[in-house]
Symmetry: C3
């Protein structure tokens, strides 16, 4: 079986958030398999089984579209973001992959220096090993807040 | 000697905070041995040797009482909380257990989406291996702030 | 080659932030080699190759001077700080050492209990193994905010 240890998943998450926070978001879709699921949802909707979420993408191509839109909108560049990610808790491991939950906190730094908590929640992930590289088959960002910023442009 | 590595303690903490933040607080006492010590204290009081703290429990039964009180008070459900926990630093290891310190940060998400830092500090822990499962013999949540919320209902 | 695993670097960071947050800042210079580089800079200046930063020290002696100044100024004692550090991402390993990036978040707790985000960013580190102990040959704290507090007294 592939190595789905908490340590290896931590490194995957470290690479993931570095890509976003270092403004290399064009590489962000590469963290996913081609036929993936990426969803941003509220905790309440998620608990009630509403899967569509605020953001929904079910292919890597859709993630690329999202990055293009984000660059066109030019919102991303106005602020900085910093993701702080907790320890991945592996809930299930099999030949097919691992199921994990990982808490996250994202702060937003405005141009005037004002910093606030932008989002918090947990990632609900299904992770697979694709030729020796860990990839997200599913990443559902379940946000604690009801009010997800409708301008939410950066990936969580 | 049992495995008291930083990695294993990280997983314990990940399980602990998931239990609280996912609103499964009824399982929270199970992270402790039966004759445990759970204290929430301020850094100043702790430094001065005042051990009683704002919250004090010296058995798992008292932790269960606390959970019941919390459910009755119905305070817990009004907000969400998110714990972000740092790397456990193991200060001492022996046959009897491990002594560790771990920083924590808890944000509170109000129903209107407003998110603020609810508490920060460090856990001062004594951890034992009970039949292959790590448990807290002592968990002292030493809070940075003087003003610990008197409505403090959720476990830290 | 020395062990420059992400886990070992995590423990180094845990010791580093504990030293600062537990107010044992006199020991802080010991985390560096004698001819070290310690810089606090903004992300914008860093990206433009301006290396001098807001704070610049190129020897352990300068770090000791900084601690003395900080104690004389008596600023440090007025608040508390709490560092939360992410998973170190090792970008390069060799006989000479490791290059790593690690996100950080620092909250400040005022005496009245008010807590806010004081700084966020990433550490850009060169780490060496000095007789079995990991030390920073370089630690550049690249801050997300333009407006680094000019009273910045505590080490990041």
């Amino acid at each position: 079986m592939a190595d789905f240890s908490s340590e290896r998943l931590s490194v995957l998450n470290a690479e993931y958030v570095r890509c976003i926070d270092n403004d290399a978001v064009e590489q962000w879709p590469d963290f996913f398999v081609e036929r993936c699921l990426y969803v941003v949802n509220t905790a309440d909707n998620y608990a009630q089984g509403m899967q569509a979420g605020v953001i929904y993408a079910d292919s890597r191509a859709m993630l690329h579209d999202r990055v293009s839109a984000l660059r066109d909108a030019n919102i991303y560049e106005q602020h900085r973001y910093r993701h702080i990610v907790g320890t991945p808790l592996v809930l299930e491991r099999s030949e097919e992959g691992a199921q994990a939950e990982t808490p996250f906190l994202v702060v937003r730094i405005m141009r005037d220096g004002q910093t606030d908590v932008f989002a918090s929640g947990r990632y609900v992930d299904r992770i697979v090993d694709e030729a020796g590289t860990l990839k997200f088959a599913e990443r559902i960002a379940v946000c604690d807040s009801h009010n997800i910023d409708t301008l939410l442009a950066i990936p969580l």
